[in-house]
Symmetry: C2
Subunit: 96 residues, 2 copies
């Protein structure tokens, strides 16, 4: 869970959701230093969320357990419920 508790790592997982990615493809998406990204990925690998495949100098990453994506669905549910709650604060008259 800790491994998923960082925005950058969630973005990485999100990228991998649509398929295998090379680390070098991910780099441009993050403004941060290479080493930082490397560390995030290392964290995900260490807990078994992503697995790798080396191909020459490049490393291709993919999700080791696709069920991770279910977590995203659930997350959406929580966020939407949350948004609804907030809307109720702002405009109580809209609640029926």
């Amino acid at each position: 869970m800790k491994a998923l508790s960082h925005p950058a790592r969630l973005r990485i997982v999100d990228q991998l959701a649509s398929g295998e990615r090379c680390l070098c493809e991910l780099q441009p998406l993050f403004e941060q230093d290479k080493s930082t990204l490397s560390r995030h990925i290392s964290a995900l690998r260490q807990v078994g969320i992503v697995s790798e495949r080396r191909e020459g100098a490049r490393i291709y990453l993919r999700l080791a357990t696709p069920c991770i994506l279910q977590i995203f669905d659930c997350l959406n549910g929580v966020l939407q419920a949350e948004a609804k709650r907030t809307a109720q604060w702002l405009e109580p008259e809209m609640v029926e």
Copy 2:
């Protein structure tokens, strides 16, 4: 996700999985200070994972979005895959 990234908070969610709990029921399960538990729960409430129901001096908590439990299932999957990997390191000859 950050809200779920702490063992204590996972334990809280786990407790709530089996139904509503009073905060005072939770306290004995944790050795830590009341204030610490209070803050953990506050964190979970803030992101909409748990919701509360006050009854007199007591506060009853429950999971706001049951799909959280799916995350636990997924977690188990990851952990088991991880365990298998580790076993392979230790005893490669056991792999067939």
